[in-house]
């Protein structure tokens, strides 16, 4: 079992006592699943019956050793023991001692310390060493579930108490039980930690998404950190000019926040410091100081007073993690354990890094969305159409999502232009390059194309002109684009595709098709390129989807795969155009990290006849404004006057609001609005599929009152499957003489 010869000695525990001791030990260990307590109890259990001093070494997830001792009644001797162990580890760790036992899994028995390999004891410690008077020791592996998780050291300092083989057997038996208890406590704690962490992260995410007020958000994060992770927490940010700024500081004890803040203020962080916050921000790598030795403070202190302050904080363990988002380090979070005595390990580090990453994304977002910090997004958005034109017979929906990193923003555009012959031009494009410059160039492209098509040029001629114009630009500006001219009366369209991903068409059956047409080079690449147009037809109800590559391009994935995925997503997208866009984006656009802008433009010819109107809406208040626009557009086709249009729209809006407010709970529910012109009357019907409830409250009845006042005949039909409000109004223009 061991390589040592058995020493001539009696057993320290007789078999009878040993059994009783084991039973007692098991009972003690079974009481607690608390990891720290279990470790402390393991260290204490063998003292004094079996040993005069005992140490438990447990391997931490990061490979370091966690040591807990039973403690020596004499603090000077305890200190000496720990110091000896440290030196022993350094000098002979590889061949002897706890480190070696853990590495090999083989126990070590030293019946007589005199025979054991010794380390140099400095003269000034010799007296103390003699006072300790070690006699014999043994070190056994702590095992659980087939793994060595640490080691147990038993030391005897009583004259004549020497360990032998029988004691070693017993110690190993003991170590197996202890090992299991320690491991169970560890597993339990891990599970507990995982739960705590999940709820902590959930809370952190909630905080971080609640506000875009940067410092306020960070202060909340710091407070959250001190609630469970640290005794104090400081957050430093690197401002745009490169200077470090303390953005938040928190302490478990609110009284001490002032002290912590004063320390930061009095001794601001030295930006050239080769370690600590500046280094973490420079390198983007975390720093973990499991134990803060006094000498570290001495080294770090700038003067006597600083040292005094640092010591008074009572630093135990420190963790500094970078605030990194989208490849840039924006600052650092410092977590300090002091009063709690908590020692940070690798797991805490990972956890803190995750928290920091989330916080960093929030910081970045808040910078991204604050105007003064993001010229490109502002410029870009100001150059995109504020509103798409109201074109009878065509529905539009558009989306623009800037890249999440400031540097990647800019260059995508979409446009819809009503042309004088009743057709409509739609364009989508992407300027090569990023940032403010690309956004500005995009503005030039968009306006130039507008000018050419408003001049009456067809798609081929317009894009050819655009190409020639681009060749006169200063730099090598280039853009990919698709330009489509749609005849709203027939659904016929002609389009040019210049180096751009193919648009997609979804027909009313849900079949999706790529529009490759006769592709050509991007504009700005070569002079005298021809941009041939391809003719196609778009049936009423079909959807034409134009998009930029940000939607379909994934690093390390062929573009075709991205387009194929978009085709599948489009096939399943809901019918209403706005919802269709949202569906496509939520399926394909990453929420927090986008390398590129995404622009999306959906176009759908609708059969719009003066005689009939029909639309299906979601039971959601935000749908009302869309309904009003659709309805007003149709009403304008009838011969209704402006006041009639408005009154009818109000009446319809009230009926719809009623459907939304009273007939439904779920916002996924839908309702239909139908209209027709019949016998000089304009007839409207709003039909829902929920259960009718009478209007409640003193003001709620006003909607119905409005409907009745504005329309001539109102009828509410309540059926098993829902409610229909039918109403009509005579149009003055259709009245007979």
């Amino acid at each position: 079992m061991t390589e040592q010869t058995t020493h001539e000695s009696g057993r320290v525990l007789d078999p009878q006592r040993a059994l009783a001791f084991l039973a007692q030990a098991s009972a003690v260990l079974a009481r607690s699943l608390d990891y720290e307590r279990t470790l402390a109890e393991v260290a204490q259990l063998a003292v004094p019956e079996f040993s005069d001093w005992c140490a438990v070494d447990v391997v931490q997830p990061d490979g370091s050793l966690r040591q807990i001792s039973s403690g020596h009644p004499d603090p000077r001797l305890e200190k000496l023991l720990m110091e000896l162990r440290r030196r022993y580890r350094e000098e002979k760790g590889r061949t002897e001692g706890a480190m070696s036992v853990i590495a090999t899994g083989r126990a070590e028995l030293r019946p007589d310390v005199k025979d054991a390999p010794r380390i140099q004891i400095p003269r000034e410690e010799e007296d103390l060493y003699d006072e300790l008077a070690p006699r014999s020791y043994m070190i056994v592996p702590l095992t659980a579930r087939g793994r060595t998780i640490g080691a147990l050291t038993f030391l005897s300092t009583i004259e004549g108490r020497h360990y032998g083989e029988a004691d070693l057997d017993f110690a190993q038996h003991l170590a197996r039980r202890f090992g299991l208890a320690v491991d169970n406590a560890r597993l339990y704690q891990e599970a507990q930690n995982a739960r705590d962490r999940l709820s902590f992260m959930a809370r952190a995410s909630e905080l971080l998404s609640a506000s875009l007020e940067l410092d306020e958000t960070l202060q909340q994060v710091a407070m959250l950190a001190v609630s469970s992770l640290a005794d104090w927490c400081a957050i430093e940010l690197r401002d745009d000019d490169g200077t470090l700024r303390n953005a938040a500081i928190a302490h478990v004890d609110p009284e001490r926040v002032r002290m912590a803040a004063a320390l930061r203020e009095r001794y601001p962080i030295d930006e050239d410091d080769p370690s600590g916050v500046p280094n973490v921000i420079r390198t983007g790598r975390s720093e973990l100081y499991p134990e803060i030795a006094d000498e570290l403070l001495v080294r770090g202190a700038r003067d006597e007073e600083h040292l005094l302050l640092l010591r008074s904080v009572g630093l135990k363990s420190v963790l500094i993690v970078p605030l990194t988002a989208r490849g840039r380090t924006l600052g650092a979070i410092t977590l300090v354990s002091a009063e709690s005595g908590r020692q940070y390990g690798v797991e805490d580090l990972r956890f803190a890094e995750e928290l920091a990453h989330r916080a960093a994304v929030a910081v970045d977002n808040s910078r991204l969305y604050s105007r003064e910090h993001n010229a490109a997004v502002t410029l870009q958005q100001s150059l995109l159409p504020r509103q798409l034109p109201e074109v009878p017979g065509v529905e539009f929906a558009a989306r623009y999502l800037p890249a999440t990193s400031e540097l990647d923003v800019g260059g995508d555009w979409y446009d819809a232009i009503q042309l004088s012959d009743g057709s409509v031009g739609v364009a989508i494009g992407d300027v090569v390059g990023h940032g403010v410059e690309a956004a500005a160039v995009m503005g030039q492209f968009r306006n130039a194309l507008r000018a050419y098509v408003l001049d009456g040029r067809g798609p081929d001629a317009a894009v050819e002109r655009l190409n020639r114009l681009t060749r006169t630009f200063d730099q090598n500006d280039m853009a990919t684009l698709v330009y489509v001219v749609l005849d709203t009366a027939t659904g016929g369209f002609r389009f040019v595709r210049a180096g751009h991903p193919p648009p997609l068409i979804r027909d009313i059956q849900g079949n999706v098709e790529q529009l490759n047409g006769q592709g050509a080079l991007p504009v700005g690449v070569a002079p005298n390129v021809r941009y041939p147009a391809t003719s196609m037809k778009l049936e009423p109800g079909s959807t034409l989807l134009l998009y930029t590559d940000g939607l379909v391009e994934r690093r390390g994935e062929p573009l075709e795969d991205g387009i194929a995925k978009l085709e599948r997503v489009l096939a399943d997208a809901p019918e209403p155009l706005e919802e269709l866009c949202d569906h496509v984006l939520s399926a394909l656009a990453a929420e927090d990290e986008r390398d590129d802008d995404i622009a999306l433009l959906a176009v759908r010819p609708i059969e719009l006849q003066a005689e009939r109107f029909h639309t299906t809406l979601r039971a959601d208040p935000t749908e009302l404004s869309r309904l009003r626009r659709l309805l007003m557009r149709w009403l304008r086709l009838t011969q209704a006057t402006a006041q009639e249009i408005y009154d009818i729209t109000i009446a319809a809006g009230e009926a719809c609001a009623n459907a939304i407010e009273h007939a439904y709970g779920a916002r996924t529910a839908r309702f239909d609005v139908e209209g027709a012109v019949k016998d000089g009357f304009l007839c409207l019907s709003v039909r829902d599929y929920g259960s009718w409830r009478a209007p409640r409250g003193e003001h709620r009845g006003r909607g119905l009152q409005l409907i009745e006042a504005l329309m001539e005949d109102v009828e509410i039909v309540r059926g098993d499957r829902g409610t229909e409000v039918r109403m009509r109004r005579r149009l003055s223009a259709l009245e007979g003489p």
Binding site: P621, S625, A642, D647, T649, G653, Q705, L706
Partner: protein, 123 residues
């Protein structure tokens, strides 16, 4: 997404004036209501809700006006509403007899004059 309505607030002669540009319906009425009532100082003489630039105003908007009036009356402050006679939204206000309870003026100046001339809150 463009918001349905834009709210511009100004104080004139210790009277809060709230200009609503755009549309008011159930999607935004209660938000507007709290935004407006939060800005009316206790010391303000009254409130003018200016609907000159409002294109759509339905029962949700009317409800908003009554709620505002209720809160103001509690503080002995007056409410007046501005709607030009040729505005399309006037019909809805008249058929629901809003004007019987909340005075409607043609211009903001008319409202301001009426308020400073000190008509007392009803009741």
């Amino acid at each position: 997404m463009n918001p349905l309505a834009r709210l511009t607030l100004e104080t004139r002669d210790e009277i809060q004036v709230a200009h609503i540009t755009g549309e008011v319906d159930i999607a935004n009425a209660s938000t507007l209501e709290s935004e407006i009532s939060d800005t009316v100082a206790n010391t303000a003489f009254g409130l003018v809700v200016d609907l000159t630039e409002t294109d759509y105003f339905d029962s949700a908007g009317i409800r908003m006006l009554f709620q505002l009036r209720k809160r103001l009356t509690g503080r002995r402050q007056n409410l007046r509403v501005v709607v030009p006679r040729d505005s399309v939204i006037i019909t809805a206000l008249l058929v629901t007899e809003v004007d019987q309870i909340i005075p409607i003026d043609e211009t903001v100046d008319e409202s301001l004059t009426a308020l400073t001339d000190g008509d007392r809150p009803p009741g």
